[in-house]
Amino acid sequence: MNARRPHPLLLLPAILAVLGVLLPLVYLALRALGAESSELREIVFRTRNLELLANTLLLTLGVLGGTTLIALPLAYLAARTTLRPRRLLTLLGVLPLAIPGYVGAYALIAASGAGGTIDALTGIRWPGPGGYWGALGVLTLFTFPYLFLNLHAALRTQDPALEDAARLLGRTPWQTFREVTLPYLRPAWLSGALLIALHVLGDFSVVSLMRYPTFSAAIYQQYTAAYDRVYSAWLALALLLVTGAALLLEARLMRGVRLSRVSPGGTRPPRTVPLGRAAPLAWVFLAVLAGAALVVPLGTIVYWLRLETNPFAWSALLEAFQGALGAAAVAAVTTTALAFPLAYIGSRHSGPLARLTERAAYLGYATPPLAFALALVFFTLRVAPPLYQTFTLLIAAYTLHFLAEAVGPVRTSLLTATPRLEEAGRLLGLSAPQTLRRVTLPLVRPGLLVSAAFVFLSVLKELPLTLLLSPIGFETLSRNVWSYTEEAQYASAAPYALALAVSGALLTLLILRREDRRVPRPPPSSPPAASQPAASPPATPSTPKDDPA
């Protein structure tokens, strides 16, 4: 149904989101125009910036390649093979996202070389990571979940009939994968890859630790050193330009993608293949990955705990844990809720305006978080001072900033759910909003879960927004991790870092439980009346209606 204008219920939040995301751009433009010096020209338009840009692009491409090489096999193993336990695979695919990149980098640095953890425990001197390959490795290890979750969700919803058809037309499993499955994964890959690209483009902490000069690191350092808003505004705008190019590229690649089933009848759940002789190979892959992405960093963190015997402030940890989890959970919900209209408009409505709306979310993500935070400081104090440094503002900031992480997965699920089903909902008497709730939302639930997971984990790790916008006294895990590691107080940082990982693990288990509900239930051995359908909540009043109270 190609109604020309989106339903107001979707349009209003979308417009709100776009405006919110554009605020920082207005701010940056205001700041950038406040410049006058010739020095500025020297900083912004120097050839070194081109070198730095080239470095950044090289790194981005490398990380995209690296993450794909890790995420695709892992997602395939988890979604399509009989390799068990699947929970473990998913855990491995999500948990690294709970470890902030700089912590991972620190941990890997601390683990390697003479006197490192590995040396201390095993006597092996593993060379320390550094330079291009170091940055590539660390960024790959701690961002591949963006691709993993996207690909995993897509692989679990693909219509197996298409692969069957390819096999019957003479394709081997491998050819089938290449010619049918991979094209199907394109939007999922693109949405994950875009996040990773934006992440790499904007990262300064990991590349700094790995001593690999990139554009955004230069911006950050310029800022730290010079306290000058004007320079950094210009440079941030330049970064946004690069991001804009990435967005255009992605939009081009997304053009004409058709995934939704065109056949009558229901989609079966995809078939799982036994690994057979490839199983040992798969286990080696998993072991290496788990070793690099989880065991070494988490092991190092645990090892740090040993360093100091100070009685640890458990109450402080608990407070930080609660603060972080609360904010992350709320932000995950609000962000996903706001991402849905954007993704819906972007995938169900045609026209440049619809596409622009959806893309706008990515600008918010690409704006350097510090600039984003300052923009909000600027506007809140001018427009709504009472909101300044409140929980509401903080959540709004998270929501606008991480919108992009939530848009992609929802969009991918929307692309795979045929609009026919929504039409059927309307014809069965549901209004557009009711159809959204009862047809579309259940269909895109896997995507919504992934979106929420991304935002949740990102908020847990977030720093600049939290530092500047949180209510005073608001405690988070990430701030503690960051400030303690910066000061080489590893033992104090360790519990907070572990708490981050535990949150990640909890979340992963939650996702898995929800996901498992999609797995075909065993046949109805019980009488039909026993299992009420979802559509009719059984009218079982738990308390008598004539309760005199």
Binding site: R48, Y106, E308, L370, L374, S483
Partner: protein
């Protein structure tokens, strides 16, 4: 009269929180602290302008304090506050109060380098061709840029440029802003000497890394002393409490605390020191006298030199 005080702290929570708690206990004034990096907080204060809720700014570097002071964001401090504080790092206009002092120094790997092999002056470091590829520095770190700014004010731009070029020829490894990362690299054997702040060495020594401190000769710019400090903002509606807070920072309890957790030198006398550190009277002689108020002006020049050298 409000009973709460808002502090913007560029300093990490470990150094701040115990002091704050004690202050609250003693005075009954509630203190809200907003943590961040100096750069973030300076930017935030600028954006907040006159609407800032902050009463006190507690900074981690002279650079940040200087920037804000220059913009006239601080009130002038009364003599009651500054009286007991060592005048070495107190700015002439008394806009901010030094709280601790740290020194630039050279860290070296005790397994690879003997202190005798190291030069007397940092100006001679570029001549140490034997250290080629084995030196670490943190070009983007504020203290390092403060040091260059000091070098410019003492020796002029030409000498400084020459020094930078000379260093560059030795292919030092740039650890950007991360001193900890740099010392980890030294532990792992990537580098053997590193330009850093003295307390980082003290900290990693607790992890029993094979790293020690080397001071250049007395008065050498390589031993530059550098203060952290606190100031009262003009936006404060609670200057009395703010002043009480500042005076608590330079009280004996707090000063002892800074020394014990962070190995930073106190700005008042009569504080006991751990044996691993040189006494203050000793180190303070090692540092040249540089007016802290001139530093901020020279930081721009230092950055330009670094940019010209392709290091930033």
């Amino acid at each position: 009269q409000t009973k709460t005080l808002t502090v913007y702290s560029g300093r990490a929570k470990t150094f701040v929180d115990p002091v704050v708690q004690q202050f609250e206990r003693q005075t009954g004034i509630k203190v809200n602290v907003r943590y961040g990096t100096d750069a973030q907080l300076v930017a935030a204060l600028r954006e907040e302008g006159s609407k800032s809720p902050a009463d006190v700014y507690w900074g981690n570097s002279v650079g940040a304090l200087g920037e804000l002071a220059e913009e006239g964001k601080f009130t002038k401090l009364g003599t009651a506050l500054t009286r007991n504080v060592s005048s070495d790092y107190l700015p002439d206009d008394r806009t901010w109060l030094p709280t601790t002092v740290r020194f630039r120094t050279l860290a070296y790997n005790t397994g690879k380098i003997k202190p005798e092999q190291l030069p007397d002056s940092i100006l001679d470091l570029p001549k140490m061709t034997s250290l080629k590829g084995r030196i670490g520095w943190t070009v983007s770190y504020p203290s390092f840029q403060d040091f260059l700014a000091a070098m410019i004010s003492k020796y002029g731009e030409a000498t400084t440029r020459q020094w930078i070029e000379g260093m560059k020829a030795l292919q030092p490894k740039d650890y950007k802003t991360s001193n900890v990362g740099m010392l980890e690299a030294m532990r792992a054997g990537e580098i053997d000497v590193a330009l850093t702040n003295h307390y980082y060495i003290q900290r990693v020594n607790r992890l029993s890394y094979p790293i020690d401190t080397y001071f250049f000769k007395n008065g050498d710019i390589g031993n530059l002393g550098n203060a952290t400090g606190a100031a009262i903002l003009k936006t404060s509606k609670n200057t009395a409490s703010a002043a009480r807070f500042l005076s608590a920072l330079v009280a004996k309890d707090a000063q002892t605390f800074f020394l014990s957790v962070n190995f930073e030198y106190p700005v008042i006398g009569n504080i006991l020191q751990p044996t691993t550190m040189l006494p203050y009277s000793d180190v303070s002689k090692r540092s040249p006298r540089i007016d802290p108020t001139v530093l901020p002006k020279n930081i721009d020049k230092a950055q330009k030199l670094l940019r010209d050298a392709g290091l930033l």
